[in-house]
């Protein structure tokens, strides 16, 4: 019987010729990822009590992104602790002020097809967009990984989500993933892998594929995988990766727990409404709802492709007077590229505020949290009650295009009317 991509990666990581969904295996970890807020300052005590020796400092990546730049003394203390910890353990890979960890590890070549990546953040699954098996773990579990380089995993079943057809203008990967989560439900993929495939997925750029894998956890999934192909190879080469890159796919006779089929050509812009990510409706249902803040950014949708779409729509236009529009590029690389292309100027001239790359207000940490009664339209990944600040606030989620169309009107808006030309994506 054939294997799924998940089974193949976990077979390799556990030293077996083959494994099957449901088996519990001990696996060797290729990359252990920590960020400032759920990293060294939480793991250090237990880590030191158990000997305090890293299994392999080359395989430990630490990214300070949640407390950057620090808005409080507590955040500054955590940031300092993280920086000192990385230095004291001679970590070759420590990043700060570079952007959210999931984007940073992709851009710096830590993510490769077939690798097993565990991180102390639920959106670690984003790395699955390049064909890595990547999932979130807690800080205590990370202690064990740091010491031994191993942990146990249950080999997950896989839900195959097929999107065929061509996406209409103004409809993007974010709309695909929101619609998928609506169908699956926010716990519909719990304990399982979501494998995205089909002609619409194959057409997506690296930037767009990462939107799908990033949000797999919003359906409860352990990870979200996309078959790695030439798009992944070209992307990694552009980031300076020169090693051999092994491509692989699920076998044709692999066993799936469920198969879902969608027609991309019929998809409309989607909006996730408060306070759950599966509370998804076509934009027409919520059009006209007033918003106070617009947030364009995050590891979900703050990449160069997203900023280009935003600039395309906002060029020569102004955002509504009663709205502030915060732009948070997903990394320093993205910021510089956007600057080079003149995108930051276009956004600023439209009335947007461009912040530095960080987790920012997406998780309610810094730079743009909301107060009671305020409404945000955001391109990020989670709209739980209290997620971006006050528990009396409301968060709507949508694609960058829908988000900036909303900024223009000060009300939730359909982006398609602002797209005269074909947008590259």
């Amino acid at each position: 019987m054939g294997m799924t991509m998940s089974e193949k990666i976990l077979a390799k990581a556990s030293g077996n010729a083959s494994v099957k969904a449901g088996e519990i295996v001990w696996v060797k970890v290729d990359i252990a990822l920590m960020h400032d807020l759920l990293g060294p300052w939480l793991v250090d005590g237990g880590f030191r009590r158990l000997g305090g020796k890293l299994f392999d400092s080359e395989k430990v990546v630490v990214v300070s992104d949640h407390c950057t730049p620090p808005a409080t003394v507590q955040q500054a203390d955590i940031l300092k602790f993280t920086r000192d910890w990385a230095r004291n353990h001679d970590l070759p890979y420590y990043y700060e002020f570079e952007g959210p960890c999931h984007q940073v590890i992709v851009e710096h070549g830590h993510v490769r097809p077939g690798r097993l990546i565990l991180g102390t953040d639920s959106h670690t699954c984003m790395a699955g967009g390049l064909g890595a098996f990547a999932t979130g773990i807690g800080s205590t579990e990370m202690i064990g990984v740091l010491l031994t380089g191993e942990t146990w995993l249950k080999v997950p079943e896989t839900i195959k989500v097929v999107w065929d057809g061509k996406l209409p203008e103004g409809v993007y990967a974010k709309d695909i993933v929101l619609n998928t989560i609506k169908e699956l439900g926010h716990a519909g993929a719990t304990y399982q892998t979501i494998e995205f495939s089909g002609s619409a997925i194959k057409e997506l750029s690296m930037d767009e594929r990462l939107v799908l894998s990033n949000m797999a956890v919003e359906a409860g999934a352990k990870t979200g995988l996309i078959e790695p192909d030439e798009t992944v190879v070209e992307y990694l080469r552009s980031k300076g990766v020169t090693d051999d890159i092994e491509l692989f796919a699920s076998d044709e006779d692999a066993v799936y727990s469920r198969l879902l089929h969608f027609d991309a050509s019929k998809l409309e812009p989607q909006v996730a409404c408060p306070h759950e990510v599966d509370n998804v409706h076509p934009v027409s249902v919520v059009e006209g709802k007033s918003v106070d803040q617009v947030y364009l950014g995050s590891c979900t949708n703050g990449r160069i492709n997203d900023l280009r779409i935003a600039a395309e729509i906002l060029k020569g236009r102004k955002i509504a007077k009663n709205v502030r529009c915060l732009v948070v590029p997903a990394s320093q690389h993205v910021w510089m590229q956007a600057n080079k292309e003149g995108i930051l100027t276009i956004l600023a001239e439209a009335g947007c505020i461009v912040n530095m790359p960080s987790c920012g207000a997406c998780g309610g940490f810094t730079s743009g949290v909301i107060g009671a009664g305020e409404v945000v339209m955001s391109s990020s990944n989670r709209n739980f009650r209290g997620r971006m600040g006050s528990s009396e606030g409301e968060v709507y989620l949508a694609s960058p295009a829908t988000v900036v169309a909303t900024a223009i009107e000060g009300k939730i808006a359909d982006p398609r009317k602002y797209l005269k030309r074909e947008v590259m994506h």
Partner: protein
């Protein structure tokens, strides 16, 4: 960790996510400060009135969202004895076992009400409702985790495995 846990129930619905249990805006503060805000988005009374040994009973998908172990930290700070839910989000379930916070799945928790006195046998997966005089089946702990739970979580388990006392 004790295998028989008895306490009074705080009852909640579906999708009690980690932003509700441990709001992001307080995560950089010491645990006692974070714990003051636990559950406040849906229940302002919880942090004020919860007593050591109380239990949480909830619906589907408890602990969805983030991998933040601050969720377990604040519940342990309040000395929650165990959580019973129809289902748990994956990372939350795993983290709870790793830090020695008992979690039990039960098919239909709607039969248990706020304030009920219940008793859980972790290894047998049995739940006795002393208030209602009823007994329910929960899921047993997965076998490969029993040893870890017996010693009190992943850290003591690793200490034993690595020969550190």
């Amino acid at each position: 960790m004790s295998f028989i846990i008895r306490g009074r129930v705080w009852k909640y619905g579906d999708n009690i996510n980690t932003d509700i249990i441990s709001p992001g805006q307080y995560m950089s503060y010491p645990v006692e400060k974070q714990a003051e805000h636990a559950m406040e988005a849906i229940d302002a009374e919880f942090a004020k009135k919860v007593q050591p040994g109380d239990l949480i009973v909830a619906g589907n998908n408890f602990g969805s969202g983030s991998s933040r172990e601050t969720a377990q930290m604040v519940l342990k700070y309040h000395q929650i004895g165990a959580i019973v839910a129809n289902s748990f989000a994956r990372i939350f379930y795993r983290n709870s076992i790793n830090v020695g916070l008992p979690v039990v799945e039960m098919l239909d928790t709607s039969v248990i009400d706020e304030g009920d006195e219940i008793e859980i046998n972790l290894f047998e997966g049995k739940i006795i409702n002393h208030t209602k005089g009823e007994e329910y089946n929960g899921t047993k702990l997965p076998e490969h985790l029993i040893e870890m739970v017996k010693v009190g979580g992943l850290e003591p388990y690793l200490a034993k495995k690595l020969g550190i006392s």
